[in-house]
């Protein structure tokens, strides 16, 4: 009997999230002492949507005088904020968490516009994690006596925080939630390419009735961050970003009493053994390097495959990459969005070209890139060795370097052969091998048979040049509490 063949293919129609849920003003000020204000020198900069290059808003650019004003506001607010009972601080944070949940659709669209990442990710990953982070640390605010840092642990004072553009609001949450829970006040500088969600967060602080000066937001470039970090009245510096800048900050705070935590770059190894659950491993590899266009410090950017399954795995991986949907970040079916900036795109392009020049074999699925905006196709490099630049330098883009190994020892040696030590992945069905390999990997987060999972209860941070200190969990409180002194007196 003749089967009825459908004539059209299953093409997903555009399914754009409505942009109207977010109202972006033409211009934004600095948020200092509870008010939006212009920069002292009147400087502004523009923030654009990376997927279209459309200017979204003009934002005040904080200079040294503004940093000083914000730190003074935070210092003034510290007195009362730190003296509040923990249970009261907790309620402010719970309020913030709830308002974030209420406004999560708006914030997800905003973040997608300003950052370029797919709405699927802001909706299903960034925003739920942001709210969860505030909920988690809210609960700590009145339980610090029980956190293992001695009785009645003290806050440090004013925290100067500098965050990156890859997860703008989530990195803000990772910084601000523990700082406020422990009784510190905050001056935070968002990245110059993604200032908007932090400024919307300022409005959330207003809605929550947070006392003025407790949170101050200073948009700006690297020099604004440098001024904040160097300010003599800052007690705590927390930075997430590149290793090069992290080192610069470490030099700046040397010889001071400022407490420092750094969450920096990585070159994570994702190790696939021949007995791996192969379909899930393929998903994990994809999540590991193409989540957020690979602009993730803990990305699994080096795939280490056991030689005996190399061809089979690569076939599966390539087939899978061919199903990735690249395009309008606001479309709910988009898997791969835009690269955050022209500068980042140039860096990715340069490193990928270098990979090719050094003899690695380049492959991308057939994929049409939009004409406007900053785009880079998902890219695989095979025949990569530890000697290739693309196996050593953090690319921070959707570029996967595939290397092979023969034995577990070789896998561990290659995985650890990097200046970084943030993340790693292990794929095998053999329990003892997972534990043995996890034990030997010099990395702060080891995902076995999964990848790129995050949770507010779970400490995150690196070994070696990936930085120091941990964010998340009970461990994350330590960065914001004064060190204990002998005999438990604090």
């Amino acid at each position: 009997m003749a089967k009825e063949k459908m004539t059209t293919a299953f093409e997903y129609a555009p399914a754009p999230e409505s942009r109207s849920v977010v109202d972006i003003a033409p211009s934004y000020g600095l948020f200092i002492d509870g008010e939006f204000t212009e920069a002292a020198d009147g400087k502004v900069f523009k923030t654009v949507s990376p997927s279209t290059e459309e200017v979204l808003a003009e934002v005040a650019q904080a200079g040294e005088a503004d940093v000083d004003r914000a730190v003074r506001a935070a210092r003034k607010a510290f007195e009362k904020w730190s003296a509040l009972p923990g249970s009261e601080r907790a309620k402010y944070l719970f309020r913030i968490a709830r308002i974030i949940q209420e406004r999560s659709r708006e914030l997800a669209v905003l973040e997608t516009l300003d950052n370029g990442k797919p709405i699927k990710e802001t909706r299903d990953a960034d925003l739920p994690l942001v709210a969860a982070h505030f909920f988690y640390y809210a609960g700590w605010a009145d339980k610090l006596d029980h956190a293992g840092y001695g009785a009645n642990p003290r806050p440090l004072g004013v925290a100067g925080q500098v965050i990156p553009w890859n997860f703008p609001l989530l990195m803000l949450a990772w910084k601000i939630a523990p700082a406020l829970a422990t009784g510190n006040t905050v001056v935070l500088k968002p990245a110059e390419t993604t200032p908007l969600s932090a400024l919307f967060f300022a409005d959330i602080c207003r809605q929550a009735g947070l006392p003025k000066g407790v949170v101050n937001i200073l948009p700006g470039y690297g020099d604004t961050g440098a001024a904040l970090v160097a300010h003599p009245d800052v007690n705590k510096v927390a930075f997430t970003g590149s290793t090069a800048v992290g080192k610069e900050i470490a030099r700046t705070v040397a010889g001071t009493r400022k407490k420092l935590t750094l969450e920096l770059g990585g070159k994570g190894a994702n190790i696939v053994f021949d007995d791996a659950p192969i379909d899930q491993a393929v998903e994990g590899i994809v999540t590991g390097i193409f989540f957020n266009q690979g602009q993730v410090c803990c990305a699994g950017s080096r795939l280490l495959v056991q030689e005996s399954v190399h061809d089979e795995l690569l076939d599966s991986l390539k087939r899978r990459l061919s199903t990735l949907r690249l395009g309008d970040p606001l479309d709910k079916n988009t898997d791969i969005g835009a690269i955050n900036s022209a500068e980042q795109l140039a860096r990715i392009t340069t490193l990928a070209d270098q990979g090719e020049a050094e003899g690695a074999e380049r492959w991308s699925p057939a994929c049409e890139l939009p004409s406007a905006g900053y785009w880079f196709a998902p890219t695989l490099f095979t025949n990569v060795t530890q000697a290739h630049t693309i196996a050593r330098d953090e690319i921070f883009g959707p570029v996967l370097s595939v290397l092979t190994f023969r034995t577990p020892d070789e896998a561990v040696a290659k995985a650890n052969n990097t200046q970084y030590g943030l993340s790693a992945g292990i794929w095998t069905e053999k329990g003892s091998r997972i534990l043995a390999v996890a034990n030997k990997l010099r990395a702060g987060v080891v995902w076995s048979n999964t990848f790129n999972k995050f949770d507010p209860t779970s400490p995150f941070g690196g070994y070696k040049e990936s930085g120091f200190g941990r964010e998340g969990g009970r461990h994350g409180l330590e960065a914001y509490l004064a060190p204990s002194s002998p005999e438990g007196e604090r």
């Binding site: 009825e4 129609a13 007995d275 379909d279 899930q280 709910k332 079916n333």
Partner: protein
């Protein structure tokens, strides 16, 4: 369709031990990762033209099913009429793929769908438990085929499978396949809810395909856990990989528990992004369902008119 194991993997069915080694050598399945992937594909947003396409495709893939002790010729005739003309108010609505009935209702069903594209599928082999001697099961199959069944939905011996007697399961399937002859396509039901683990479902899928199944099917609809996005995704991976290794394409039929258009569309997304467009056709993918059809019809009416429809505007069968 080949009636014996495909050449590329012919060796693995040579003996009980080679079969066991092969099945146990298949890659493991991580349950959390599999379910996460299924859930992630479930977030695809299928709108407007894509939705219209998917709804018609889904309707055309329905094996409209009645498998009750209370089935009567009247009930089966009504079902047949519905399968042929799901929406009397809109003749552009595609017919369903098949009606699915017990063997003694095959003749009635055949009459009811006569002259249409709708096939008659019959469950057999002591459905749903499968607890009968092989000759009884084969008689069940021959009876249905003789009455004109185009398709046979057999159940495997889950007891034998769980006891590790893979060769016994294999032999039964090949025997049933033989009883189907050239006329009837064979769907092999694993009752995934009873196999309990995803590793078992993957092994059963390969076992069924090696034994000559034309379709692999999740469930009878008679146990607590029937078709799920995750077990269907897993079976789609199996048919994809089987074709890659042997060149033989096998169909997939999730059955039981799929009741809404939204669910059905999620399954079609799984097909599209796992096995691929080659399976987006009722020759290769089916829904074993009954109430699903009316929901698809109401959604179809909504797309056509812009108004939400109601149960009074679709037929009760």
């Amino acid at each position: 369709m080949p009636t014996t194991a495909p050449h590329a993997l012919a060796d693995v069915t040579a003996s009980d031990s080679t079969l066991r080694r092969f099945l146990h050598g298949l890659p493991g399945v991580d349950a959390v990762g599999l379910e996460a992937r299924a859930a992630s594909l479930g977030t695809r947003s299928i709108k407007t033209t894509a939705k219209a396409y998917a709804i018609d495709l889904a309707i055309s893939m329905v094996d409209l099913t009645t498998l009750e002790g209370a089935d009567t010729p009247g009930k089966v005739r009504a079902l047949g009429a519905k399968a042929v003309r799901p929406d009397p108010t809109d003749r552009t609505t595609p017919a369903t793929a098949a009606v699915c009935v017990y063997p003694d209702m095959v003749a009635t069903a055949k009459e009811a769908v006569a002259g249409s594209s709708v096939k008659v599928a019959s469950v057999a082999t002591a459905f749903p438990a499968g607890r009968a001697a092989l000759p009884v099961k084969l008689a069940d199959v021959r009876d249905a085929v003789a009455a004109g069944a185009d398709e046979i939905d057999m159940v495997i011996d889950r007891g034998a499978f769980l006891a590790g007697n893979y060769r016994k399961v294999y032999d039964e399937i090949t025997a049933v396949k033989e009883a189907c002859g050239a006329a009837a396509r064979l769907k092999v039901i694993f009752e995934t809810g009873e196999l309990s683990t995803y590793d078992n479902i993957r092994r059963a899928s390969w076992l069924g395909m090696l034994a000559g199944a034309d379709f692999i099917k999740t469930s009878t609809g008679k146990v607590a856990v029937n078709a799920t996005p995750a077990n269907t995704l897993l079976m789609l991976e199996a048919v994809r990989d089987f074709r890659a290794q042997t060149g033989v394409q096998v169909g997939v039929k999730p059955a039981g528990g799929i009741r809404t258009s939204k669910d059905a569309i999620k399954f079609l997304v799984l097909v599209n992004e796992t096995a691929g467009a080659d399976w987006l056709d009722n020759h290769w993918f089916r829904f074993g369902a009954s109430s699903l059809l009316n929901d698809l019809l109401m959604q179809r009416q909504k797309l056509a008119t812009g108004r939400y429809s109601g149960p009074d505007y679709v037929t009760v069968d």
